[in-house]
């Protein structure tokens, strides 16, 4: 009964398509660059309420019918409204609010629908392992994961998580692998025959993918790793290594290896798939899949350092506490 609105920008002209929520679109409308490759350029969003890992309540259920999805999407929206403006609630607890309030719902833009692939809605971004869970290696990697979000000590700016320092977006927004988060799930892709650039709105991260190139030497380490790519038919394959030992994607090490696949399945969709590998962090390689949907531009500026009073307050709060304890 209901339709999904997909908007897309094509060569400066704004077009609006109404498409039925079921089967995947015919690929005949996929735009191409002059060199014949699919044109991935435009502004995209990966906002979705499909979680990375399948919730326990949906164990064993990989997809949802549209009726089931609608029911849960409504429930999710109602929960958000119910806890809005309160000091406590599941979302605030998850964002480390601990009784201090936090974001109101108006500041959140995490999508309102489950991710749809091949015409059906998915209950987790993880498609392998089949249980939809990150194949955890040990309690130690879990501890590293938690530490990477909450940070260890408050002695120095350098002790704080990278996102708090405005170095990379939180929750692996920039990736790789790129994951949807609470807000600012917007991306712009620019493409030439030699490079693909992915501009991430959150913290203004820019991923530069060099096509048909070799990886940088092993001693070159970057926050977002070193990405090289090539075309396999109509799919852009991006291979990323050379991460820093501080990037820590869900407890990963500097040896994290991510292979991403971008396939423009129709005018309004890029199907994104990423396989994540790090024997020191995960029991086995694992794969996520979800669509990037075309969205009206533009990408907004995110001058994170300029407005980062939070970091000053966080370190200042720790100094104040120390002074009180000395008294």
């Amino acid at each position: 009964m209901f339709y999904r609105l997909i908007q897309f920008v094509s060569l400066g002209a704004l077009s609006v398509l109404l498409v039925a929520p079921t089967p995947a679109q015919n690929s005949s409308v996929v735009p191409r660059t002059p060199d014949g490759h699919p044109d991935l350029q435009g502004t995209w969003t990966n906002a979705t309420i499909t979680p990375l890992e399948r919730p326990a309540a949906l164990a064993g259920k990989t997809t949802l019918t549209d009726a089931e999805a609608h029911e849960l999407e409504t429930k999710s929206a109602n929960e958000l409204a119910e806890y809005d403006g309160k000091s406590e609630g599941p979302l605030l607890t998850a964002t480390g609010s601990a009784g201090t309030g936090g974001y109101n719902a108006l500041f959140l833009d995490r999508g309102s629908e489950f991710a749809r692939v091949d015409g059906v809605k998915r209950t987790s971004l993880i498609i392998d392992p089949p249980d939809g869970k990150v194949p955890r290696l040990s309690a130690e990697t879990d501890r590293r994961l938690i530490a990477s979000y909450t940070g260890g000590s408050f002695n120095s700016v350098k002790d704080r998580p990278l996102s708090e320092r405005c170095i990379i977006g939180f929750g692996s927004t920039s990736g790789p692998p790129m994951l949807p988060v609470l807000y600012n799930n917007n991306y712009q892709i620019v493409q030439t025959p030699d490079h693909v650039l992915i501009l991430v709105e959150m913290v203004h991260d820019a991923r530069i993918v060099r096509l048909n190139a070799k990886h940088a030497p092993p001693d070159v380490r970057q926050w977002l790793g070193d990405s090289v790519g090539h075309w396999e038919g109509d799919t852009l394959v991006v291979d990323t290594t050379n991460f820093t030992d501080k990037t820590r994607f869900r407890g990963s090490t500097e040896n994290l290896h991510v292979v991403e696949r971008f396939t423009r399945t129709d005018a309004g969709t890029i199907l994104y798939r990423a396989t994540i590998e790090d024997p020191a962090a995960f029991a086995r390689p694992w794969t996520i899949e979800y669509p990037f949907l075309a969205t009206p531009g533009p990408i907004y500026e995110y001058a994170c350092h300029e407005g980062n009073y939070a970091l000053t307050d966080i370190l200042g709060g720790a100094r104040k506490k120390e002074a009180e304890e000395r008294r």
Binding site: L91, A94, A98, T100, G101, Y103, N104, N184, D313, G316
Partner: protein
């Protein structure tokens, strides 16, 4: 009914399963033991990342004015929803409920911001009245 049993099966909170984590943990910056209730006038709105800040001048019983800064979320979402820094114009009376920063400076997070007509600013996920929501 099939849908009923499905709803029961999936009754756990979906928000819990949501991609969570924010720019920073609020509990590290603000003090849950220092709730503030500010009655004042908006002096400036800064739509800056990673957090928007709303400046509020509060006149005390002695007539002395103190300037508070109230932290809000990322402004990019607001801009997409049609809010700009003039949506809440300087001079607008507001009531802010929130929590003061741990370092004791005059900064707070804004749990609730209430306008003169009783409307809660930045509240209401289902129908904020913003262009973004009307589009859906």
């Amino acid at each position: 009914m099939k849908t009923k049993s499905f709803a029961v099966m999936a009754c756990a909170s979906l928000i819990l399963a949501a991609p969570a984590w924010a720019h920073h943990a609020f509990a590290a910056e603000f003090d849950a033991k220092r709730p503030v209730h500010l009655v004042g006038v908006v002096s400036k709105v800064e739509l800056i990342n990673p957090h928007a800040w709303i400046h509020v001048d509060v006149t005390g019983p002695d007539g002395k004015v103190t300037s508070w800064m109230v932290e809000a979320g990322s402004p990019n979402v607001l801009l997409r929803r049609g809010f700009t820094k003039t949506t809440v114009a300087p001079g607008t009376p507001v009531v802010v409920d929130g929590y003061q920063s741990k370092d004791g400076s005059l900064r707070a997070n804004g749990k609730d911001i209430t306008l003169p007509d009783g409307k809660k600013l930045f509240l209401g996920s289902s129908g904020t009245g913003a262009p973004y929501d009307q589009k859906k």
